[in-house]
């Protein structure tokens, strides 16, 4: 079958206020099979799907059933814009360049908040775009004692209005019919301006501004020039973030605004009030309100937003989020690790021992395992966020946390991602999607990896045990130090957020105008679909990067192969194996030989790693690491920890010849670390070095998966590169200060 270029298909954009069920409508129309793409040039994702409509000319001519493209657009209360994020809504709906002009806009409207929603509808009608209004959530009206007459609304607005209950899939046949009708006869959805500026001065303002609207904005649409002039008067400002606005237009708007101010007028108010007056004046026709009822939401909010119960509930729920990521995901993660380990074992049994087997087992299978291991936490976090978002609770969290988060320069919605950061930065960075503004998202992403994630725990465990070598592994001081590291990571994240929000990611303070949507039961198909989409994007985009990095790490640690070794391991092994094969050995003797054989293997692996490229790199880096108290063997550990922080522990096990299976509690590893010395005989793992190393791990960006997922979420390598540079510099400087400062003070 020939596929036509997508531009040849008719285009429908779904628009609407936030929380109106836009996504549900989109999913119902497209059957949930949407492609996730990006807006050209920026990293905000955009969904695109297909819909077959009866009565629309299809790609094969006038056969009666045609396929149209369906695109979503960012939820917005208005098309006026001061930031680039807000401009996107206008671009997507009105089809300003570089986006194409839609053939139809379906505006999804929350019928329980009709008047405010109609404000956006009027703006879209003004732009001269064919409109169909999808009146959603009509099933909630009776409980509120209200009634909306869809027919009267249709007559008033002059565009088709269809009643929907999107979550229950009701009204979609009618919606598709209305869409087909307007796509065939544009005029059916083009009523012309409803509210018209009538006051003389405003008409003058528009007349001055209108000729300056760039031709590129209006395209071939004729009616939109005046609408875009109105938009300019409302949007342009001496400190807006909009680029590509002609200087002439900007100046004209400014001068009209100050002229109006001199005569005591407010252009903003005249335009906004004009639209709302029109809505209020016509509301009697289509909206009937009975006596006000105390809604279920009001009753729930009395409890949930109650200072005491509500706060306890909030703490409870956040503990649940934290626990689920930190503890409940563990069996799943363990299962995946075991599964991949088992696969590796099976394959290494099938393949002849050597380079290829090592590549398949350690490089490929290990690399795939390295990103599959994140799936349980990603799925769980998006399930919980989906539920909180869909029920309307997330908006309340943002309100509750606004004061604290705002004082740090962060958005109230950054709280859940930051909390998730204690488990793992990878799902947490993906969770920043719950914020609308790009600046809020970037700021949260940039500081998230400083939160103490669970991969740092084994490293801290090993080093704390090394500090308190003489006093055992558990104790009050040890626990205190661990808690101190948590506090340190959190403080570092919050301070960096404060600094970044005042410098590089300085944003315009935005008023907190959060709409508290009514509580609803979560719509499971939507929740599950979002969960799946996020996971798929992670596997496809971040997974590839993680796999490539894993193979790179394997190369660094396994090559060169033909190094000169200090011992003839092969000969020694052969000798041991010969002894083992001798008949009549005692069990004890046999056991002893096996232990020696294992130790020999570990020694060889250790020497090979010390002489690998990673080892060379460690030695090259030693001059940089020495001022922090680290030798080149620690350097190998730091290099290998780039795969994942906890790998540091097993690498130290390999480097010190204890074997790959070592963890932070392995006595042999602790023992070797305690005995490790510099060439001049000084001990390497002094308490001061261990502290310096812990601080390095707390601050350094030792995680390729974090960088991969930041690349996925920001769409460029710029932000992950910045993250790597700033975190590593911060780590080096702080460790330097701690180590050298500590030495000056006489510690060691």
């Amino acid at each position: 079958m020939l596929s036509r270029p997508s531009t040849a298909l008719l285009t429908v954009v779904i628009a609407g206020n936030p929380n109106t069920g836009k996504t549900t409508v989109f999913n119902q129309l497209t059957g949930g099979r949407a492609k996730v793409g990006n807006y050209p040039g920026i990293t905000v994702s955009r969904h695109e799907g297909r819909l077959a409509l009866d009565g629309v000319d299809g790609p094969h001519g006038a056969d009666g059933v045609g396929t149209v493209r369906v695109l979503d657009s960012p939820g917005t209360y208005s098309l006026s814009a001061r930031s680039k994020d807000e401009l996107l809504a206008l671009q997507a709906v009105a089809g300003l360049p570089p986006l194409e002009r839609p053939d139809l806009v379906v505006v999804v409207v929350d019928s329980t908040q009709l008047n405010r929603n109609l404000y956006l509808v009027l703006q879209i009608i003004e732009l001269g775009l064919p409109v169909v209004v999808a009146l959603n959530m009509t099933d909630m009206l009776p409980a509120l004692g209200r009634e909306v007459d869809a027919q009267a609304l249709e007559q008033t607005l002059g565009v088709p209005v269809v009643s929907l209950v999107a979550r229950k899939g009701r009204g979609f046949d009618e919606l598709r019919q209305a869409m087909a009708k307007v796509l065939q006869h544009r005029e059916a959805g083009l009523p012309g301006w409803r509210w018209k500026p009538e006051a003389g001065p405003l008409l003058e303002d528009l007349a001055v501004v209108e000729p300056l609207v760039p031709a590129a904005w209006t395209g071939n649409g004729s009616g939109s020039r005046r609408a875009l002039a109105t938009w300019s008067l409302l949007s342009l400002d001496d400190d807006d973030e909009l680029t590509e606005v002609p200087e002439e237009l900007r100046r004209a708007v400014e001068s009209r605004r100050s002229l109006a101010r001199e005569t005591g007028r407010s252009i903003d108010r005249e335009i906004i009030e004009g639209r709302y007056r029109w809505i209020d004046a016509h509301a009697d026709r289509f909206l009937k309100s009975g006596t006000a009822v105390v809604s279920l939401t009001d009753r729930i909010d009395r409890i949930i937003l109650n200072p005491l119960i509500g706060f306890a509930l909030f703490l409870g729920l956040m503990t649940l989020v934290f626990q689920s990521l930190f503890t409940w995901a563990d069996p799943m993660i363990g299962f995946i690790e075991t599964l991949f380990g088992w696969c590796g074992d099976q394959i290494s049994r099938l393949l002849p021992e050597g380079l290829f087997a090592s590549f398949v087992v350690d490089g490929l299978i290990g690399g795939v395992g390295a990103f599959v291991v994140f799936l349980p936490q990603i799925l769980l976090l998006f399930l919980l966020i989906g539920i909180m978002e869909d029920t309307g609770y997330m908006a309340r969290v943002a309100v509750l946390m606004d004061r604290i988060m705002k004082s740090l320069g962060l958005h109230g919605r950054a709280f859940v991602p930051m909390l998730s950061g204690y488990a793992c930065a990878v799902p947490a960075i993906m969770a920043t999607r719950n914020m609308e503004r790009r600046r809020d998202r970037l700021l949260t992403m940039m500081v998230l990896p400083l939160m103490t994630c669970s991969a740092r725990l084994p490293v801290y465990g090993l080093l704390i045990a090394a500090i308190f070598a003489s006093r055992g592994e558990s104790g009050f001081a040890q626990g205190l130090l661990m808690a101190g590291m948590y506090l340190f990571g959190t403080a570092a994240a919050l301070i960096c957020a404060l600094v970044l929000s005042k410098t590089m990611l300085k944003g315009k303070p935005s008023p907190l105008l959060i709409e508290l949507p009514p509580y609803r039961m979560p719509h499971w198909p939507s929740v599950l679909q979002t969960m799946w989409e996020q996971t798929r994007a992670f596997i496809q985009k971040a997974g590839t990067i993680i796999l490539i990095c894993s193979i790179g790490m394997w190369l660094l640690l396994s090559f060169p192969r033909d190094v000169e070794l200090d011992h003839d391991y092969a000969a020694e092994r052969a000798a041991l194996e010969l002894k083992l094969a001798t008949a009549g050995l005692e069990d004890a003797e046999q056991g002893r030989l096996h232990v020696r054989l294992d130790a020999l293997g570990a020694e060889e692996a250790g020497e090979r790693t010390r002489k690998s490229y990673a080892g060379h790199l460690g030695q090259v880096l030693e001059p940089v690491l020495e001022p922090l108290g680290f030798d080149w063997k620690i350097g190998i550990g730091i290099i290998s920890a780039f795969a994942a922080r906890e790998v540091f522990v097993s690498t130290m096990g390999v480097v010190y010849g204890v074997g790959e299976g070592a963890d932070e509690t392995t006595p042999a590893l602790r023992d070797r670390l305690r005995k490790a010395t510099w060439p001049d005989g000084r001990k390497v793992f002094t308490p001061l070095t261990c502290l310096s190393l812990m601080i390095f791990f707390a601050l350094a960006c030792q995680c390729m998966s974090t960088l991969a997922v930041t690349r996925l979420e920001t769409g460029t390598w710029l932000w992950p590169a910045l993250m790597l540079v700033y975190m590593t510099s911060l780590a080096w400087l702080t460790s330097f200060a701690v180590y050298q400062g500590g030495r000056l003070l006489g510690f060691e």
């Binding site: 329980t112 008047n115 405010r116 404000y119 400002d237 105008l513």
Partner: protein, 75 residues
Amino acid sequence: MTTLDCLTPGSEALLIEVGGARPFQCRLMEMGLLPGTRVQVVRRNHFGGVLELKVRHSHVTVRTIEASQLIVSPA
């Protein structure tokens, strides 16, 4: 005449004037908080430093500091 943040929860008022910076004014008016609009204070959240309002059938929150820029006349 008083400011919105001084109202007790449950009370209603008519919005007289929207103060503050221009972007704030515009955003507020576009959400339907225009001079002449009836506003009800639903509750006050001290921890979050916000005020929940009921305007035109919807619930909207504003920061208490920002609410002090809205002049109302109790009704």
